[in-house]
């Protein structure tokens, strides 16, 4: 095939040059790009961690790391936080996922949407909002409680500046991961299995115990691991809540090693355990899933039968909405209040309403415009390039069209094992020296964002490809189109929804990313998350509220616009048979 097209292109006019099958060179280029993106930063981290100043091999950095209490304490705190978050997320998200996917609870779609709203909320913004709500003395909830019970000014019921507070806030913005996994798994379980169990005389409890729970357990375990990893690698929430409480986590410790005088060798050494732990856990997850996954093969099943809850329907909905108070309603109410209040933790009335924060943010704060421009430029570029790269890789892997496609798939998912802060440290070490000095440019941030988001983008598009049967492409190829042409004319239009979803996913993730950006920014390449973090350190909560809400509004608009792009052949609906 390849030979034919090359031969043809020699004789045909140049217009037909696109007849060359480019998949092999594209695959090589993609692989090379991935190797550079992933291997380079890790190599520098390893080098810095194991080499001393003269370049000799040393374990000194690790010895310091594991004997110095100022490193051990954060390690213990981090482990405690991550474990608690992992468990809590499952406790909250699994029942919610079941209610949304399997019960006749009213307003199920509303609950799904609200869970997504907590997903697009940057965890650091949530942490700041929760300071407004649950700081022990000034927190709005503590004030309300004192007002209701007449408790003295010294008493409080919530203290967000604590280990428990950190766990709580991280859980608020991590449980959507578990929720999505569980709800999707439940969506996929054929209702017939449960029906069969019921017809054989089992009670609903037995059916749940013997059928539903075992089938969804892999998803719950996978979710717990993802939640654990998120909590392990999160930077913003602990930086905002743990430091006032007087303790560090591993990520805030790594970040503090970049204070003057910077100690990149120690930061690298501290980053390696995070990396190793993440890899180990992901392998464990794979092992668990590999063993317990129930492939539901062939045939088309009926939609799962909703379990009638009776009068409990409304109780269940109330429960879900109560849970959603914490990540969505309360924080956004607190931010909205702070944006228009002179004192962020005083409730605004019509008489005290003030535009001062809005004015300051948009007309006095000289960085606002510049930072918004950087953020949206980077968001759009990362989303576009990231989607493109993921699309190419997913195509090459899904169609198994070239040799070595498995390595490509592995490389594309490898960055999932790289916590943002580790990647930040690695990229900083890699690109602050010749030949490629990218530090100080938007490129280094672009590389960081694409690398971080590639695994999720790749996985999304991979599943999208699975939904498009290869025979459609084959038909196009038989009719004489090249691989690229059939990709453009057949596959791409069919993938439109998946592509747009991926683009939006990357965009949202970039806008809310802080942990890599906080290591990699310079004054000219500052992004919104870093500006908010800067303002947080000087306690300018009003401006943060305005910026945070604008960020959410702009993100929503961008997503709405992306979803309204008319696609070629966008109306084609595929009737899948499997």
């Amino acid at each position: 095939m390849t030979d034919v097209s090359i031969a043809a292109s020699d004789t045909l006019p140049p217009r037909r040059r696109h007849g060359i099958d480019l998949s092999q060179p594209i695959m090589l280029a993609a692989a090379a790009l991935l190797v550079v993106l992933i291997v380079l930063p890790i190599a520098w981290i390893v080098a810095y961690a194991f080499l001393d100043k003269s370049g000799a091999l040393t374990l000194g950095n690790f010895a310091k790391l594991f004997t110095d209490p100022s490193f051990l304490d954060p390690l213990i705190a981090t482990a405690t936080i991550a474990t608690s978050v992992g468990c809590l997320c499952c406790l909250i998200a699994a029942p919610m996922g079941w209610l949304v996917a399997r019960s006749d609870m009213p307003a199920r779609n509303l609950v799904r949407t609200l869970v997504m709203a907590s997903f697009v909320t940057p965890p650091f913004l949530g942490a700041i909002a929760w300071e407004l709500l649950a700081a022990p003395n000034s927190g709005l909830l503590n004030q309300a409680w004192r007002g209701l019970t007449g408790a003295s000014a010294d008493e409080h019921i919530f203290n967000i500046y604590s280990l428990g507070g950190v766990v709580f806030v991280i859980t608020c913005y991590t449980f959507p991961y578990v929720f999505v996994l569980v709800a999707n798994a439940l969506d996929r379980i054929p209702g017939e299995l449960e029906d069969a169990s019921a017809m054989l005389g089992a009670t609903s409890a037995t059916t749940a115990r013997r059928i539903t729970i075992p089938m969804v357990l892999p998803a719950i375990i996978a979710g717990a691991l993802i939640a654990f990893l998120q909590a392990l690698n999160l930077f913003g929430s602990p930086a905002i809540l743990a430091i006032p409480a007087g303790f560090h986590t591993l990520t805030t410790k790594i970040w503090s090693l970049f204070q003057f005088p910077p100690k990149p060798e120690l930061a690298a050494a501290a980053a390696l355990p995070l990396l190793v732990l993440t890899v180990v856990l992901l392998r464990a997850q794979k092992a668990v899933l590999g063993r317990r996954s129930y492939a539901v093969v062939g045939g088309k099943y009926g939609a799962p039968r909703p379990v009638p809850l009776g009068a409990f329907r409304w109780v269940a909905l109330a429960g879900c909405l109560f849970m959603l108070l914490m990540p969505v309603f309360l924080p956004y109410a607190a931010l909205l209040n702070a944006a228009f209040s002179k004192i962020p933790t005083r409730l605004v009335t019509w008489d005290t309403l003030s535009w001062q924060n809005v004015y300051f943010t948009f007309f006095e704060l000289s960085q606002t415009g510049h930072v918004l421009k950087n953020t949206f430029l980077l968001g759009a570029l990362s989303a576009t390039l990231g989607t493109l790269l993921a699309l190419i890789i997913a195509y090459l892997v899904a169609r198994q069209s070239v040799r070595g496609h498995k390595i490509l798939g592995f490389l594309a998912t490898a960055p999932i094992a790289m916590p943002g802060i580790v990647l930040g440290v690695g990229l900083f070490l890699a690109y602050t020296r010749p030949p490629l000095v990218l530090y100080g440019t938007l490129w280094i941030l672009l590389i960081a964002y694409i690398t971080i988001e590639l695994p999720a983008a790749y996985q999304q598009l991979q599943s999208a490809f699975h939904a498009v049967h290869p025979e459609l492409e084959e038909a196009s190829r038989i009719l004489g189109a090249t691989r690229l042409r059939s990709l453009r004319d057949i596959t791409a239009p069919l993938l439109r929804t998946g592509v747009i979803a991926t683009w939006c996913f990357i965009f949202v993730a970039v806008v809310r990313e802080l942990s890599a950006a906080v290591i990699l920014f310079t004054s000219d390449t500052k992004v919104l998350s870093v500006l908010i973090f800067d303002l947080k350190e000087s306690g300018d909560l009003g401006a943060i509220a305005v910026l945070g809400l604008s960020m959410l509004a702009l993100t929503t608009i961008v997503i709405a616009l992306a979803n309204s792009i008319p696609g070629r052949g966008g109306d084609i609906r595929l009737r899948e048979n499997g």
Binding site: S70, D73, A135, P136, N137, S138, A153, Y161, A242, I243, P244, A245, G246, F247, H248, S256, F258, Q259, F260, P261, P262, I343, P344, T345, F360, E364, L365, S366, Q367, H370, T432, V437, Y439, G440, T522, S523, D524, D534, L535, E537, S538, G539, D540, L541, A543
Partner: protein, 358 residues
């Protein structure tokens, strides 16, 4: 009289040099010659600055004041925009170091609340010789570098303060020693020397005069740890904590003007005094705009602004302290020693972290 004549001659020299610069040496970016001579704001300097159009101002002064200063400059010199890069002085110091190590020269002019930074930058050859005319004329020797690379742009204190709704004046602490009383457990807030130059400087003075044991005991009071020296007072106004151990006083004056419930205590042991110098960087990307901004920021007009809308104090001989604010001469202050801070900075941060855990 003699000073006056000399300056006039310098002005003439400067103007001709600037004219020469623009006429014959178009590639020469600086509209200022004769190193060491005070820099006067000339129409040529303004013109050259306008061509550059922008100045990047790295500062650790409270953001509202920094932006107001920028807006006042933009109003005075239309066509030159000020981009304020505000973070803690120690952060800025690290940032400039990191940017310079990667050959990124983004900073035009810098103001820091840790005077020790200027010793380092000057030693490393980062600073441009640029002594504003006002500094030459109206600043006492103790507030400026004899070689004209930097001068004290602001003077302020790091006192104790309390929320007057939560603490009655008679119950308020009067000294640092009072803060060790068990009644303050969980009620104190303080800023961090790893972030804030103000706190680095005050921690040095307090550890010297009160001993490190003081901080060791203070750390047991469950102190809320914030970063910026501007933040403790904001936490008091929120009502989050009752008393601040340290933090900049200038924001507090503005809060008091607005009627916020906050009062200052000048502790019996003495109040840490901080001077925040400014300088122009040699590798400034907008050298003329940098000089113009720097010189303007030391004029009586700008210094008066920093007092009136910023709550700062000034070393400028011609500006007046605001009535109602206790004059510096009536306050017992601790002595600032930038050279010692420069030598001890790492030790201070390490000791602090060992007591306060962050």
């Amino acid at each position: 009289m003699t000073t006056c004549t000399r300056l006039t001659r310098r002005q003439i020299l400067l103007r001709s040099a600037a004219a020469a610069g623009t006429t014959f040496l178009p590639w020469k970016t600086s509209a200022h010659a004769a190193p060491g001579a005070p820099v006067v704001i000339t129409p040529e300097l303004i013109e050259a600055a306008k061509k550059e159009g922008r100045v990047n101002y790295y500062t650790s002064v409270e953001i509202n004041l920094a932006e107001k200063l920028g807006k006042a400059f933009e109003a005075k010199f239309p066509g030159i925009s000020v981009k304020v890069e505000r973070t803690g002085a120690e952060r800025n110091f690290q940032r400039i170091g990191q940017e310079y190590a990667s050959k990124i020269y983004a900073c035009d002019t810098v103001n820091s609340s840790d005077a020790a930074h200027f010793i380092v930058w000057k030693r490393d050859g980062l600073l441009e010789t640029c002594e504003p005319e006002d500094v030459a004329k109206h600043y006492a020797a103790e507030y400026k570098d004899p070689d004209g690379t930097y001068a004290a742009w602001r003077v302020f204190l790091s006192p104790i303060a309390y929320n007057t709704r939560l603490v009655k004046p008679e119950d308020a602490p009067k000294s640092y020693k009072d803060l060790l009383d068990p009644k303050w457990v969980g009620k104190l807030v303080k800023a961090h020397p790893g972030y804030s130059g103000t706190i680095m400087t005050s921690t040095h003075q307090m550890s010297r005069d009160l001993g490190w044991e003081y901080f060791e005991k203070l750390a047991k009071q469950k102190v809320m740890q914030v970063q910026s020296a501007a933040d403790p007072a904001k936490k008091l106004v929120l009502g989050e904590r009752a008393v601040m151990v340290d933090g900049a006083d200038y924001g507090i004056f503005l809060m008091q003007d607005k009627g916020d419930p906050i009062a200052i205590v000048y502790p019996e042991e003495g109040t840490p005094l901080i001077t925040g110098p400014s300088a122009v960087l040699k590798k400034a990307p907008h050298p003329n705009a940098a000089k113009l901004f720097h010189c303007w920021s030391f004029t009586a007009e700008a210094q008066q602004l920093s007092i009136d809308v910023g709550g700062l104090r000034s070393a400028h001989a011609l500006v007046k302290e605001r009535p109602g604010r206790k004059p510096l001469s009536e306050i017992k202050t601790m002595k600032e020693n930038a050279a010692e801070v420069e030598k001890m900075a790492d030790d201070i941060k390490a000791r602090y972290a060992s007591y306060f855990k962050v």
